[in-house]
Protein backbone atom coordinates (compact mmCIF):
# COMPACT_ATOMS: atom_id res chain seq x y z
CA UNK A 1 0.00 0.00 0.00
CA UNK A 2 1.53 3.21 -1.18
CA UNK A 3 -0.14 5.35 1.45
CA UNK A 4 2.40 4.34 4.08
CA UNK A 5 6.11 3.62 3.95
CA UNK A 6 7.33 0.06 4.35
CA UNK A 7 8.55 0.90 7.86
CA UNK A 8 5.11 2.13 8.85
CA UNK A 9 3.50 -0.95 7.45
CA UNK A 10 6.01 -3.16 9.22
CA UNK A 11 5.29 -1.51 12.58
CA UNK A 12 1.56 -1.55 11.87
CA UNK A 13 1.49 -5.19 10.91
CA UNK A 14 3.97 -6.31 13.52
CA UNK A 15 3.67 -3.79 16.31
CA UNK A 16 6.39 -4.06 18.98
CA UNK A 17 5.56 -3.97 22.68
CA UNK A 18 1.82 -4.35 22.38
CA UNK A 19 0.04 -5.13 25.60
CA UNK A 20 -0.22 -4.08 29.22
CA UNK A 21 2.18 -3.93 32.13
CA UNK A 22 0.05 -4.93 35.13
CA UNK A 23 2.67 -3.60 37.53
CA UNK A 24 3.54 -0.49 35.56
CA UNK A 25 5.22 2.36 37.40
CA UNK A 26 3.50 4.85 35.14
CA UNK A 27 0.53 4.72 32.79
CA UNK A 28 -0.39 7.49 30.37
CA UNK A 29 -3.51 7.66 28.26
CA UNK A 30 -4.02 10.30 25.62
CA UNK A 31 -6.51 10.59 22.88
CA UNK A 32 -8.84 12.53 20.80
CA UNK A 33 -12.47 11.70 21.21
CA UNK A 34 -13.27 13.26 17.87
CA UNK A 35 -10.99 11.36 15.52
CA UNK A 36 -11.47 8.65 18.11
CA UNK A 37 -7.90 7.53 18.51
CA UNK A 38 -6.73 6.61 21.99
CA UNK A 39 -3.29 5.50 23.09
CA UNK A 40 -2.31 4.08 26.46
CA UNK A 41 1.33 3.62 27.39
CA UNK A 42 2.72 1.64 30.33
CA UNK A 43 6.28 2.13 31.60
CA UNK A 44 8.42 0.33 34.10
CA UNK A 45 11.17 2.51 35.58
CA UNK A 46 14.31 1.56 37.46
CA UNK A 47 14.10 3.86 40.52
CA UNK A 48 17.89 3.99 40.80
CA UNK A 49 18.88 4.84 37.27
CA UNK A 50 15.59 6.38 36.08
CA UNK A 51 15.89 4.11 33.05
CA UNK A 52 12.72 2.87 31.33
CA UNK A 53 13.26 -0.84 31.61
CA UNK A 54 10.04 -1.93 29.95
CA UNK A 55 7.24 -0.35 27.97
CA UNK A 56 3.97 -1.55 26.46
CA UNK A 57 1.11 0.10 24.67
CA UNK A 58 -2.51 -0.32 23.71
CA UNK A 59 -3.86 1.74 20.87
CA UNK A 60 -7.28 2.24 19.41
CA UNK A 61 -6.49 4.02 16.22
CA UNK A 62 -5.54 4.23 12.62
CA UNK A 63 -2.61 2.51 10.97
CA UNK A 64 -0.21 5.30 11.71
CA UNK A 65 -1.43 5.60 15.31
CA UNK A 66 -0.49 1.96 15.82
CA UNK A 67 2.81 2.27 13.95
CA UNK A 68 3.84 5.41 15.83
CA UNK A 69 2.93 3.81 19.15
CA UNK A 70 5.08 0.86 18.28
CA UNK A 71 7.98 2.98 17.10
CA UNK A 72 7.77 5.26 20.14
CA UNK A 73 8.01 2.32 22.52
CA UNK A 74 11.05 1.08 20.66
CA UNK A 75 12.68 4.48 20.86
CA UNK A 76 12.28 4.90 24.62
CA UNK A 77 12.82 1.37 25.79
CA UNK A 78 16.03 1.12 27.78
CA UNK A 79 16.51 4.89 27.76
CA UNK A 80 16.66 7.17 30.81
CA UNK A 81 13.46 9.13 31.37
CA UNK A 82 15.27 12.39 30.68
CA UNK A 83 16.06 11.14 27.18
CA UNK A 84 12.60 9.68 26.62
CA UNK A 85 11.14 13.09 27.37
CA UNK A 86 13.14 14.50 24.48
CA UNK A 87 11.31 12.25 22.04
CA UNK A 88 9.45 14.41 19.55
CA UNK A 89 6.74 13.33 17.20
CA UNK A 90 9.03 14.43 14.41
CA UNK A 91 11.65 11.92 15.53
CA UNK A 92 9.02 9.19 15.47
CA UNK A 93 7.93 10.20 11.98
CA UNK A 94 11.50 10.21 10.76
CA UNK A 95 12.20 6.83 12.27
CA UNK A 96 9.21 5.54 10.29
CA UNK A 97 10.50 7.05 7.03
CA UNK A 98 7.75 9.62 7.03
CA UNK A 99 3.97 9.78 7.16
CA UNK A 100 1.46 11.31 4.74
CA UNK A 101 0.81 14.97 5.55
CA UNK A 102 -2.68 14.41 6.92
CA UNK A 103 -1.32 11.68 9.17
CA UNK A 104 1.39 13.68 10.92
CA UNK A 105 -1.05 14.47 13.70
CA UNK A 106 -1.21 10.79 14.63
CA UNK A 107 2.43 10.87 15.68
CA UNK A 108 1.74 13.62 18.21
CA UNK A 109 -0.33 11.09 20.09
CA UNK A 110 2.73 8.90 20.64
CA UNK A 111 4.84 11.78 21.93
CA UNK A 112 2.03 12.78 24.27
CA UNK A 113 1.54 9.23 25.50
CA UNK A 114 5.18 8.97 26.56
CA UNK A 115 4.96 12.27 28.40
CA UNK A 116 1.69 11.25 30.07
CA UNK A 117 3.20 7.98 31.28
CA UNK A 118 6.24 9.79 32.72
CA UNK A 119 3.98 12.38 34.35
CA UNK A 120 1.99 9.59 35.96
CA UNK A 121 5.23 8.02 37.22
CA UNK A 122 6.35 11.38 38.65
CA UNK A 123 2.97 11.95 40.25
CA UNK A 124 2.92 8.54 41.87
CA UNK A 125 6.41 9.08 43.21
CA UNK A 126 5.87 12.70 44.17
CA UNK A 127 8.65 13.81 41.90
CA UNK A 128 8.14 17.43 41.04
CA UNK A 129 8.19 18.51 37.37
CA UNK A 130 8.08 21.76 35.50
CA UNK A 131 5.27 23.25 33.46
CA UNK A 132 6.86 21.89 30.28
CA UNK A 133 5.63 18.43 31.24
CA UNK A 134 2.12 19.57 32.08
CA UNK A 135 -0.59 18.33 29.69
CA UNK A 136 -0.55 20.51 26.63
CA UNK A 137 -3.52 22.70 25.92
CA UNK A 138 -3.87 21.31 22.43
CA UNK A 139 -3.04 17.74 23.27
CA UNK A 140 -6.65 16.71 22.91
CA UNK A 141 -6.61 17.90 19.35
CA UNK A 142 -3.30 16.25 18.59
CA UNK A 143 -2.17 18.79 16.13
CA UNK A 144 -5.14 19.89 14.09
Amino acid sequence: MALYSEKVMDHFQHPRNVGKLPDADGVGEVGNAKCGDIMRMYIQVDPETQVITDVKFNTFGCGSAIATSSMATELIKGKPIAEALKLTNRAVVEALDGLPTHKIHCSVLAEEAVRAAVRDYYDRNHIPYGPELAPREDAEDHGH
Binding site: M1, M9, F12, Q13, P15, V18, K20, E29, N32, A33, K34, C35, G36, D37, I38, M39, R40, N58, T59, F60, G61, C62, G63, A65, I66, H102, C106, H144
Partner: protein, 385 residues
Protein backbone atom coordinates in the same frame (compact mmCIF):
# COMPACT_ATOMS: atom_id res chain seq x y z
CA UNK B 1 -7.43 -14.39 -2.85
CA UNK B 2 -8.09 -10.90 -4.17
CA UNK B 3 -11.56 -9.61 -3.40
CA UNK B 4 -12.89 -6.27 -4.53
CA UNK B 5 -15.74 -5.44 -2.17
CA UNK B 6 -15.83 -1.67 -2.66
CA UNK B 7 -18.24 -1.37 -5.56
CA UNK B 8 -19.98 1.64 -4.05
CA UNK B 9 -16.70 3.54 -4.43
CA UNK B 10 -16.29 2.51 -8.04
CA UNK B 11 -16.66 -0.55 -10.22
CA UNK B 12 -14.60 -2.40 -12.76
CA UNK B 13 -15.45 -1.43 -16.34
CA UNK B 14 -17.53 -4.18 -17.92
CA UNK B 15 -16.52 -5.90 -21.14
CA UNK B 16 -19.71 -4.58 -22.71
CA UNK B 17 -18.86 -1.00 -21.82
CA UNK B 18 -15.31 -1.34 -23.05
CA UNK B 19 -16.50 -2.84 -26.32
CA UNK B 20 -18.82 0.14 -26.82
CA UNK B 21 -16.00 2.58 -26.11
CA UNK B 22 -13.28 1.02 -28.23
CA UNK B 23 -14.44 2.09 -31.70
CA UNK B 24 -14.82 5.67 -30.47
CA UNK B 25 -11.16 6.08 -29.59
CA UNK B 26 -9.47 5.85 -32.94
CA UNK B 27 -12.19 5.29 -35.52
CA UNK B 28 -15.31 7.28 -34.71
CA UNK B 29 -13.36 10.02 -33.05
CA UNK B 30 -15.00 13.09 -34.58
CA UNK B 31 -16.50 15.98 -32.68
CA UNK B 32 -20.29 15.65 -32.74
CA UNK B 33 -20.58 19.39 -33.33
CA UNK B 34 -18.78 19.00 -36.67
CA UNK B 35 -20.74 18.90 -39.89
CA UNK B 36 -18.58 16.36 -41.69
CA UNK B 37 -19.06 12.61 -41.72
CA UNK B 38 -16.63 11.84 -38.86
CA UNK B 39 -18.46 14.41 -36.76
CA UNK B 40 -21.92 13.21 -37.72
CA UNK B 41 -21.01 9.61 -36.98
CA UNK B 42 -20.06 10.77 -33.50
CA UNK B 43 -23.31 12.73 -33.26
CA UNK B 44 -25.23 9.55 -34.08
CA UNK B 45 -23.41 7.70 -31.29
CA UNK B 46 -24.29 10.50 -28.91
CA UNK B 47 -27.96 10.42 -29.90
CA UNK B 48 -28.08 6.64 -29.53
CA UNK B 49 -26.56 6.83 -26.05
CA UNK B 50 -29.05 9.47 -25.01
CA UNK B 51 -31.81 7.23 -26.27
CA UNK B 52 -30.57 4.35 -24.10
CA UNK B 53 -30.69 6.42 -20.93
CA UNK B 54 -34.08 7.87 -21.84
CA UNK B 55 -35.55 4.44 -22.50
CA UNK B 56 -34.29 2.87 -19.29
CA UNK B 57 -35.38 5.79 -17.14
CA UNK B 58 -38.73 6.15 -18.93
CA UNK B 59 -37.75 9.63 -20.02
CA UNK B 60 -37.49 11.52 -23.27
CA UNK B 61 -34.03 11.86 -24.88
CA UNK B 62 -34.36 15.65 -24.65
CA UNK B 63 -34.58 15.28 -20.89
CA UNK B 64 -31.13 13.67 -20.71
CA UNK B 65 -28.02 15.83 -20.26
CA UNK B 66 -24.58 14.27 -20.08
CA UNK B 67 -22.20 15.58 -17.44
CA UNK B 68 -18.73 14.69 -16.18
CA UNK B 69 -20.11 12.57 -13.36
CA UNK B 70 -22.53 12.31 -10.49
CA UNK B 71 -21.08 15.29 -8.66
CA UNK B 72 -21.53 17.65 -11.58
CA UNK B 73 -25.06 16.36 -12.14
CA UNK B 74 -25.90 16.94 -8.46
CA UNK B 75 -24.40 20.43 -8.51
CA UNK B 76 -26.26 21.40 -11.65
CA UNK B 77 -29.55 19.93 -10.50
CA UNK B 78 -29.49 21.85 -7.23
CA UNK B 79 -28.28 25.09 -8.77
CA UNK B 80 -30.87 24.93 -11.53
CA UNK B 81 -33.75 24.30 -9.15
CA UNK B 82 -32.46 27.01 -6.81
CA UNK B 83 -32.31 29.51 -9.68
CA UNK B 84 -35.84 28.62 -10.73
CA UNK B 85 -36.97 29.03 -7.14
CA UNK B 86 -35.29 32.41 -6.73
CA UNK B 87 -37.19 33.67 -9.77
CA UNK B 88 -40.40 33.05 -7.88
CA UNK B 89 -39.02 34.34 -4.59
CA UNK B 90 -38.66 30.84 -3.18
CA UNK B 91 -35.36 30.20 -1.52
CA UNK B 92 -35.93 27.29 0.82
CA UNK B 93 -34.59 23.82 0.12
CA UNK B 94 -35.32 20.56 1.92
CA UNK B 95 -32.78 17.78 1.93
CA UNK B 96 -31.39 15.22 4.36
CA UNK B 97 -28.45 14.92 6.70
CA UNK B 98 -27.01 11.91 4.94
CA UNK B 99 -26.76 13.14 1.37
CA UNK B 100 -23.48 12.82 -0.51
CA UNK B 101 -21.08 15.74 -0.19
CA UNK B 102 -21.80 16.69 -3.80
CA UNK B 103 -25.25 17.64 -2.53
CA UNK B 104 -24.38 18.82 0.99
CA UNK B 105 -21.52 21.05 -0.11
CA UNK B 106 -23.57 22.56 -2.91
CA UNK B 107 -26.32 23.27 -0.39
CA UNK B 108 -23.75 24.97 1.85
CA UNK B 109 -22.67 27.12 -1.08
CA UNK B 110 -26.32 28.00 -1.72
CA UNK B 111 -26.74 28.92 1.94
CA UNK B 112 -23.87 31.35 1.60
CA UNK B 113 -25.74 32.81 -1.36
CA UNK B 114 -28.87 33.42 0.70
CA UNK B 115 -30.84 30.20 0.43
CA UNK B 116 -32.22 28.50 3.49
CA UNK B 117 -31.73 24.76 3.85
CA UNK B 118 -33.56 22.29 6.08
CA UNK B 119 -31.76 18.96 6.46
CA UNK B 120 -34.02 16.18 7.63
CA UNK B 121 -32.89 13.92 10.45
CA UNK B 122 -32.23 10.32 9.62
CA UNK B 123 -34.40 7.76 11.45
CA UNK B 124 -32.53 4.84 13.07
CA UNK B 125 -33.37 2.53 10.18
CA UNK B 126 -31.73 4.91 7.69
CA UNK B 127 -34.95 5.51 5.78
CA UNK B 128 -36.38 9.01 5.60
CA UNK B 129 -40.18 9.19 5.44
CA UNK B 130 -42.41 11.07 3.06
CA UNK B 131 -44.11 12.46 6.16
CA UNK B 132 -40.84 14.10 7.23
CA UNK B 133 -40.59 15.70 3.82
CA UNK B 134 -44.21 16.86 3.92
CA UNK B 135 -43.74 18.54 7.30
CA UNK B 136 -40.59 20.30 6.18
CA UNK B 137 -42.07 21.83 3.02
CA UNK B 138 -42.92 25.50 3.45
CA UNK B 139 -44.63 27.96 1.15
CA UNK B 140 -41.21 29.21 0.06
CA UNK B 141 -39.74 25.76 -0.59
CA UNK B 142 -38.48 25.45 -4.14
CA UNK B 143 -36.74 22.08 -4.02
CA UNK B 144 -36.64 18.79 -2.21
CA UNK B 145 -33.51 16.69 -2.71
CA UNK B 146 -33.47 13.21 -1.24
CA UNK B 147 -31.04 10.57 -2.39
CA UNK B 148 -32.40 7.40 -3.91
CA UNK B 149 -30.07 5.07 -2.02
CA UNK B 150 -27.46 6.08 0.49
CA UNK B 151 -23.86 5.51 -0.56
CA UNK B 152 -22.64 4.29 2.82
CA UNK B 153 -25.45 2.31 4.37
CA UNK B 154 -27.28 1.46 1.15
CA UNK B 155 -30.77 2.20 2.45
CA UNK B 156 -33.35 2.87 -0.25
CA UNK B 157 -35.60 5.86 0.29
CA UNK B 158 -39.34 5.96 -0.47
CA UNK B 159 -38.84 7.98 -3.63
CA UNK B 160 -42.32 7.42 -5.08
CA UNK B 161 -43.98 8.61 -1.88
CA UNK B 162 -41.70 11.62 -1.61
CA UNK B 163 -42.30 12.34 -5.29
CA UNK B 164 -46.05 12.34 -4.67
CA UNK B 165 -45.68 14.71 -1.72
CA UNK B 166 -43.54 17.10 -3.77
CA UNK B 167 -45.81 16.99 -6.79
CA UNK B 168 -48.78 17.73 -4.61
CA UNK B 169 -46.99 20.64 -2.98
CA UNK B 170 -45.78 21.96 -6.34
CA UNK B 171 -42.14 21.67 -5.31
CA UNK B 172 -39.39 20.36 -7.58
CA UNK B 173 -37.99 17.00 -6.53
CA UNK B 174 -34.39 15.96 -7.16
CA UNK B 175 -32.98 12.59 -6.30
CA UNK B 176 -29.31 11.66 -6.29
CA UNK B 177 -29.63 8.20 -7.80
CA UNK B 178 -25.90 7.65 -8.17
CA UNK B 179 -25.95 4.52 -6.00
CA UNK B 180 -29.33 3.31 -7.19
CA UNK B 181 -29.07 3.62 -10.96
CA UNK B 182 -28.41 0.30 -12.61
CA UNK B 183 -29.17 -1.53 -9.37
CA UNK B 184 -32.83 -0.83 -8.67
CA UNK B 185 -35.58 0.02 -11.17
CA UNK B 186 -36.06 3.73 -11.88
CA UNK B 187 -39.09 5.14 -13.68
CA UNK B 188 -39.02 8.91 -13.46
CA UNK B 189 -42.66 9.12 -14.49
CA UNK B 190 -43.99 6.68 -11.93
CA UNK B 191 -41.75 8.16 -9.23
CA UNK B 192 -42.69 11.75 -10.10
CA UNK B 193 -39.07 12.80 -10.03
CA UNK B 194 -38.20 16.13 -11.69
CA UNK B 195 -34.41 15.94 -11.54
CA UNK B 196 -32.23 12.87 -11.18
CA UNK B 197 -28.46 12.36 -11.14
CA UNK B 198 -26.53 9.23 -11.92
CA UNK B 199 -22.92 8.26 -12.51
CA UNK B 200 -21.69 5.58 -14.88
CA UNK B 201 -18.77 4.27 -12.87
CA UNK B 202 -21.12 2.94 -10.21
CA UNK B 203 -22.58 0.34 -12.58
CA UNK B 204 -19.49 -0.87 -14.45
CA UNK B 205 -19.45 2.08 -16.82
CA UNK B 206 -16.53 4.46 -17.28
CA UNK B 207 -15.48 7.10 -14.77
CA UNK B 208 -16.11 10.70 -15.68
CA UNK B 209 -19.59 10.31 -17.15
CA UNK B 210 -22.77 11.32 -15.42
CA UNK B 211 -26.34 11.95 -16.46
CA UNK B 212 -28.67 14.64 -15.31
CA UNK B 213 -32.29 13.90 -16.05
CA UNK B 214 -34.42 17.06 -16.02
CA UNK B 215 -38.12 16.83 -16.69
CA UNK B 216 -39.32 18.89 -19.65
CA UNK B 217 -40.05 22.39 -18.52
CA UNK B 218 -37.43 22.28 -15.78
CA UNK B 219 -34.84 24.63 -17.24
CA UNK B 220 -31.24 23.78 -16.46
CA UNK B 221 -28.77 26.51 -15.61
CA UNK B 222 -25.39 25.81 -17.21
CA UNK B 223 -22.70 25.10 -14.66
CA UNK B 224 -20.09 25.01 -17.42
CA UNK B 225 -20.59 27.78 -19.93
CA UNK B 226 -19.27 27.32 -23.45
CA UNK B 227 -20.42 25.98 -26.76
CA UNK B 228 -23.90 24.88 -27.71
CA UNK B 229 -23.37 21.25 -26.69
CA UNK B 230 -26.15 19.49 -24.78
CA UNK B 231 -28.67 22.06 -26.09
CA UNK B 232 -26.74 24.85 -24.45
CA UNK B 233 -27.05 23.28 -21.00
CA UNK B 234 -23.44 22.18 -20.72
CA UNK B 235 -20.46 23.46 -22.67
CA UNK B 236 -17.53 21.26 -23.59
CA UNK B 237 -16.71 18.70 -26.24
CA UNK B 238 -18.62 15.54 -25.40
CA UNK B 239 -16.68 12.50 -24.20
CA UNK B 240 -18.16 10.21 -26.83
CA UNK B 241 -16.24 7.06 -25.83
CA UNK B 242 -17.23 7.59 -22.21
CA UNK B 243 -20.84 8.35 -23.05
CA UNK B 244 -21.10 5.26 -25.26
CA UNK B 245 -19.55 3.13 -22.54
CA UNK B 246 -21.93 4.57 -20.00
CA UNK B 247 -24.96 3.82 -22.16
CA UNK B 248 -23.83 0.27 -22.85
CA UNK B 249 -23.18 -0.34 -19.15
CA UNK B 250 -26.53 1.13 -18.15
CA UNK B 251 -28.39 -0.90 -20.73
CA UNK B 252 -26.68 -4.04 -19.51
CA UNK B 253 -27.23 -3.25 -15.85
CA UNK B 254 -30.92 -2.55 -16.42
CA UNK B 255 -31.38 -5.69 -18.50
CA UNK B 256 -29.76 -7.87 -15.84
CA UNK B 257 -31.07 -6.00 -12.84
CA UNK B 258 -33.43 -8.63 -11.47
CA UNK B 259 -30.95 -11.44 -12.01
CA UNK B 260 -28.13 -9.50 -10.39
CA UNK B 261 -30.28 -8.64 -7.39
CA UNK B 262 -31.36 -12.26 -7.02
CA UNK B 263 -27.77 -13.37 -6.95
CA UNK B 264 -26.49 -10.55 -4.73
CA UNK B 265 -29.16 -10.45 -2.07
CA UNK B 266 -28.34 -13.87 -0.56
CA UNK B 267 -24.63 -13.02 -0.57
CA UNK B 268 -25.35 -9.75 1.16
CA UNK B 269 -27.60 -11.40 3.73
CA UNK B 270 -25.07 -14.11 4.43
CA UNK B 271 -22.42 -11.46 5.05
CA UNK B 272 -24.73 -9.52 7.33
CA UNK B 273 -25.61 -12.63 9.31
CA UNK B 274 -21.97 -13.66 9.61
CA UNK B 275 -20.71 -10.27 10.64
CA UNK B 276 -23.43 -9.44 13.12
CA UNK B 277 -22.67 -12.76 14.77
CA UNK B 278 -19.41 -11.19 15.95
CA UNK B 279 -20.19 -9.79 19.43
CA UNK B 280 -20.84 -6.07 19.78
CA UNK B 281 -21.46 -5.62 16.10
CA UNK B 282 -24.42 -3.75 14.67
CA UNK B 283 -25.80 -3.47 11.18
CA UNK B 284 -26.16 0.09 9.92
CA UNK B 285 -29.42 0.74 8.12
CA UNK B 286 -32.51 -1.35 7.57
CA UNK B 287 -31.75 -4.98 6.78
CA UNK B 288 -34.29 -5.29 3.97
CA UNK B 289 -34.74 -1.85 2.42
CA UNK B 290 -31.16 -1.64 1.22
CA UNK B 291 -29.24 -2.05 -2.01
CA UNK B 292 -28.73 -5.70 -2.91
CA UNK B 293 -24.96 -5.37 -2.63
CA UNK B 294 -24.56 -3.18 0.46
CA UNK B 295 -23.32 -4.36 3.86
CA UNK B 296 -22.37 -1.85 6.52
CA UNK B 297 -21.64 -2.73 10.12
CA UNK B 298 -20.01 -1.12 13.14
CA UNK B 299 -17.67 -3.17 15.29
CA UNK B 300 -17.41 -1.61 18.72
CA UNK B 301 -13.90 -0.97 19.98
CA UNK B 302 -12.35 -1.03 16.52
CA UNK B 303 -10.94 1.73 14.40
CA UNK B 304 -11.83 1.57 10.73
CA UNK B 305 -8.55 2.39 9.06
CA UNK B 306 -6.64 -0.32 10.86
CA UNK B 307 -9.34 -2.75 9.95
CA UNK B 308 -9.14 -1.78 6.28
CA UNK B 309 -5.38 -2.09 6.22
CA UNK B 310 -5.48 -5.55 7.75
CA UNK B 311 -8.22 -6.60 5.35
CA UNK B 312 -6.19 -5.24 2.48
CA UNK B 313 -3.26 -7.32 3.63
CA UNK B 314 -5.54 -10.33 3.23
CA UNK B 315 -6.50 -9.19 -0.26
CA UNK B 316 -9.88 -7.73 0.63
CA UNK B 317 -10.64 -4.21 -0.62
CA UNK B 318 -13.28 -2.57 1.57
CA UNK B 319 -14.24 0.83 2.89
CA UNK B 320 -14.99 2.54 6.18
CA UNK B 321 -16.63 5.69 7.36
CA UNK B 322 -13.81 6.18 9.87
CA UNK B 323 -12.40 9.67 10.21
CA UNK B 324 -8.93 8.22 9.92
CA UNK B 325 -9.53 7.05 6.37
CA UNK B 326 -10.23 10.58 5.24
CA UNK B 327 -8.57 13.95 5.45
CA UNK B 328 -11.12 15.19 7.97
CA UNK B 329 -11.23 14.39 11.65
CA UNK B 330 -14.95 13.68 11.64
CA UNK B 331 -16.18 10.17 11.11
CA UNK B 332 -18.85 9.58 8.49
CA UNK B 333 -21.63 12.15 8.63
CA UNK B 334 -23.95 9.37 7.55
CA UNK B 335 -23.27 7.17 10.57
CA UNK B 336 -23.43 10.17 12.89
CA UNK B 337 -26.76 11.15 11.33
CA UNK B 338 -27.91 7.60 11.96
CA UNK B 339 -27.24 8.18 15.64
CA UNK B 340 -24.04 6.20 16.08
CA UNK B 341 -21.73 7.70 18.73
CA UNK B 342 -18.35 8.91 17.43
CA UNK B 343 -16.38 5.97 18.71
CA UNK B 344 -18.81 3.45 17.26
CA UNK B 345 -19.06 5.24 13.91
CA UNK B 346 -15.29 5.03 13.93
CA UNK B 347 -15.37 1.25 13.71
CA UNK B 348 -17.50 0.91 10.61
CA UNK B 349 -16.93 -1.40 7.71
CA UNK B 350 -18.65 -1.15 4.35
CA UNK B 351 -18.56 -4.09 1.98
CA UNK B 352 -20.27 -3.45 -1.34
CA UNK B 353 -20.69 -6.31 -3.73
CA UNK B 354 -21.30 -6.48 -7.44
CA UNK B 355 -22.40 -9.32 -9.64
CA UNK B 356 -18.72 -10.02 -10.24
CA UNK B 357 -18.25 -11.18 -6.64
CA UNK B 358 -18.37 -14.93 -6.07
CA UNK B 359 -19.89 -16.88 -3.14
CA UNK B 360 -16.44 -18.21 -2.18
CA UNK B 361 -15.38 -14.64 -1.59
CA UNK B 362 -18.07 -14.28 1.05
CA UNK B 363 -16.78 -17.43 2.74
CA UNK B 364 -13.28 -16.03 2.75
CA UNK B 365 -14.33 -12.65 4.17
CA UNK B 366 -16.28 -14.36 6.95
CA UNK B 367 -13.33 -16.59 7.67
CA UNK B 368 -10.85 -13.75 7.97
CA UNK B 369 -12.82 -10.97 9.64
CA UNK B 370 -13.49 -12.31 13.16
CA UNK B 371 -9.78 -12.83 13.74
CA UNK B 372 -8.92 -9.32 12.68
CA UNK B 373 -11.65 -7.87 14.86
CA UNK B 374 -10.37 -9.78 17.90
CA UNK B 375 -6.80 -8.81 17.17
CA UNK B 376 -7.65 -5.11 17.03
CA UNK B 377 -9.92 -5.28 20.05
CA UNK B 378 -7.14 -6.96 22.00
CA UNK B 379 -4.82 -4.11 21.11
CA UNK B 380 -7.36 -1.48 22.07
CA UNK B 381 -7.26 0.37 25.38
CA UNK B 382 -10.94 1.12 24.91
CA UNK B 383 -12.03 -2.45 24.64
CA UNK B 384 -10.35 -3.95 27.70
CA UNK B 385 -11.93 -1.43 29.98
Amino acid sequence: MKIYADNAATTRLSDTALAAMTPCFQEIYGNPSSLHTPGQLAAEKLAAAREVFARNLHADPREITFTSGGSEADNQALRSAAALGAKRGKRHIVSTKFEHHAVLHTLQALEREGYEVTLLDIPPDGVVTAEQVRSAIRPDTCLVSVMFANNEIGTIQPIAEIGAVCRQAGVLFHTDAVQAAGHVPIDVEALQVDLLSLSAHKFHGPKGVGVLYARRGVALTPLIHGGAQERGKRGGTEDIPGICGAAAAFDEACANMARNADCLTPLRDRLIAGLTAIPHTVLNGDAARRLPGNVNVCFEGIEGESLLLLLDEKGIAASSGSACTSGSLDPSHVLLALGRPHEVAHGSLRLTLSEENRPEEIDYILEVLPGIVSYLRDMSPVWDE
